[in-house]
């Protein structure tokens, strides 16, 4: 038997109570795991880079910028690569089956963000074969059941063709994987020249420029320089990192981070009260035995450690169960929900488990520590 075995056996002396505690902890961490995965994965925020800059109109993201602005951006010596993108949103088949298309120059996109998106020369060559070719992200392809060679018609919400129709026809020439699981691949990459030539209005305009600073260049400084470049022009810009951009984008709808914090906070505060209350009673029931342990020579410090170890044990089992369930749920949910249970989510959860385990054990441990042996013996 080890010291930990003793703590573990103490925790299991009333199995039903312990199991119920663990279940409540598991539920709390299931909620935490899912909500954090949602925040982490929504719109690819987990894979968003602080180094990649997006240049949009200062008047709003929906306002286009002239293509001509690219040469001025590229002239900045701190710029490593620059590309452009126009976004097309529409649906396939039924209106609720929404898809997004980024129309770009594939070569420039490869240079700016090819690594993160998982673009390869083979894919770029494939999309270069014809103007209506598209690359589809792995998440979107799996969700739609699309394969290479399939022809897809996207009915645009916001971009009519010059002939008045809203249907855009593409042929899938490749599937890009994304650098890792956190990368958003729930979209398509089309050729800008095709979209630009066929669209009814907004020709030679783009929604954003994508800028990769040179290695060692501060992205914040470069963003300021780019915005200064257009400060007095007819189209002033707002340059943000990809991460800032996505955060701001999400906040258009709601402060998801705050909502998650409130939901998880409420769950954890409730959990804390339940577990502290239960642990206090559990330890109070054992005051006599704690007196016995002290008589055998267990110091106040060891008694404190024993109670804390017991509390941590309950939290680690319950919390791990909840996190495993959360991980399974994110895997079952599929990529279209944007749930990403990353190592960061796991690390934060483990830290919270440790803190909560110690916090809930602190009060009963303190009570047990300071109870004089004589008083403990009077409780029987």
């Amino acid at each position: 038997m080890t010291f930990f075995d003793l703590a573990r056996k103490n925790a299991w002396r009333k199995p039903l109570r312990t199991v119920l505690l663990m279940v409540s902890i598991a539920v709390a961490f299931l909620i935490y795991g899912l909500t954090e995965s949602f925040v982490n994965g929504t719109q690819g925020a987990a894979g968003a880079s602080d180094d990649l800059l997006g240049v949009t109109s200062a008047s709003g993201r929906t306002q286009p910028l002239p293509m001509a602005a690219m040469s001025r951006i590229a002239a900045n010596p701190d710029v490593g690569a620059v590309g452009y993108v126009t976004r097309l949103r529409g649906f396939v088949g039924v209106e609720k089956n929404v898809v997004a298309i980024s129309a770009a120059d594939p070569d420039l996109l490869m240079a700016v963000n090819g690594k993160a998106l998982g673009l390869t020369p083979t894919l770029i060559n494939a999309v270069a074969e014809a103007r209506d070719k598209v690359l589809v992200g792995r998440a979107l392809a799996e969700a739609q059941g699309w394969v290479i060679g399939k022809r897809v018609t996207v009915t645009a919400f916001n971009m009519p063709r010059a002939d008045g129709a809203r249907d855009w026809r593409f042929e899938i020439s490749g599937i890009f994987e994304g650098e890792n699981a956190a990368t958003d691949t729930y979209f398509m990459i089309a050729r800008y020249d095709y979209v630009n030539a066929a669209r009814a209005r907004g020709k030679d305009m783009v929604d954003a420029f994508v800028v990769r600073p040179l290695a060692g260049v501060s992205s914040g400084t470069l963003a300021t320089e780019i915005d200064a470049l257009f400060a007095n022009s007819p189209t002033p810009t707002r340059t943000q990192s990809e991460r800032q951009f996505l955060d701001a984008f999400l906040r258009q709808y709601a402060d998801i981070g705050l909502i998650v914090t409130l939901v998880v906070g409420a769950a954890f505060v409730t959990l804390l009260m339940i577990v502290v209350n239960t642990m206090v009673f559990a330890v109070r029931e054992r005051r006599f035995e704690i007196g016995v342990l002290k008589t055998l020579g267990f110091s106040r410090l060891r008694i404190t450690a024993l109670i804390l170890a017991e509390s941590l044990f309950v939290f680690f089992i319950g919390g791990s169960l909840g996190l495993v369930l959360a991980k399974m749920a994110t895997m079952l949910a599929g990529p279209e929900l944007g749930l990403v249970f990353s190592g960061l989510v796991l690390a934060k959860a483990l830290a919270i488990i440790t803190v909560l385990g110690l916090a809930t054990g602190a009060l009963p441990a303190f009570n047990a520590m300071r109870t004089p042996i004589i008083n403990a013996f009077r409780t029987r």
Partner: protein, 233 residues
């Protein structure tokens, strides 16, 4: 109640009082006691005479108001709580009237408890536990839980737990108070064996005159003072 040789346990001028309902009730008002190393002392006396208080002070779980208490080379009256806990872990074993075994631990695990406080490997702890289990006649019952054992067997586990760390002093608080005569005699035989063969110094509080016969001498405590001493024939 003093001995001519240097005593193993020495109490001098011990005062102790409890506050009950705002009033101080004196238990000891200058108690002296000397017990030589290897002695087996039974302490008898009516309820409220101070037997348990004396045992608690010897165990270092109750403090003195005044006076000195030395056991071996340790002055317990000058120790803090942490030091007394460490002293108990290394120098003293205690046997309770109601065994006080932890119900969720097996016999072997209960016995192993004091060894968790010592820098011993798992194997060393196992060897010691097996040895004392054999000594108290419970070999083969390592995995049995207290609830499935008789009172006599539980008390044997209690004794095994008290001696597993090989302390010099054994304090027994009514060790046969919850046992039938046969089991009580077996336990007392075991205590006598520990005293005579292993040289343990034993202080046993008891109400049972027959239990006291196993001791080398019996001290009678009344109203906080020793009033009589009987030596075994």
């Amino acid at each position: 109640m003093t001995e001519n040789i240097v005593p193993y346990i020495a109490l001098a001028g011990v005062r102790k009082a409890y506050r009950i309902g705002g009033e101080m009730i004196p238990i000891f008002s200058g108690l002296d006691l000397a017990i030589p190393d290897g002695d087996f002392v039974a302490v008898m006396g009516p309820s409220g005479s101070g037997k348990s208080t004396l045992l608690n002070m010897l165990a270092g779980i109750d403090s003195l108001d005044a006076g000195t208490l030395r056991i071996g080379n340790s002055c317990l009256d000058q120790m803090g709580e942490a030091a007394r806990a460490a002293w108990r872990a290394h120098n003293m074993g205690i046997v309770f009237q109601f065994y006080n075994l932890l119900p969720m631990l097996t016999a072997a695990e209960n016995i192993e408890l004091p060894l968790l406080l010592k820098p011993l490997s798992r194997k060393e702890r196992y060897i010691r536990v097996e040895k004392v289990l054999d000594l108290v006649g419970l070999a083969g019952r390592e995995r049995q839980y207290p609830a499935l054992m008789s009172g006599g067997q539980q008390q044997r586990v209690g004794i095994a737990r008290a001696i597993v760390s090989d302390p010099g002093l054994l304090l027994c608080d009514e060790p046969t108070g919850d046992l039938d005569r046969k089991s009580a005699d077996e336990i007392l035989d075991m205590l006598r064996f520990l005293n005579r063969e292993l040289g343990k110094t034993i202080v046993m509080v008891t109400h049972d005159p027959q239990a006291a016969l196993y001791a080398c001498r019996t001290l009678h405590l009344d109203k906080g003072d020793f009033v009589e001493e009987k030596r075994a024939a």
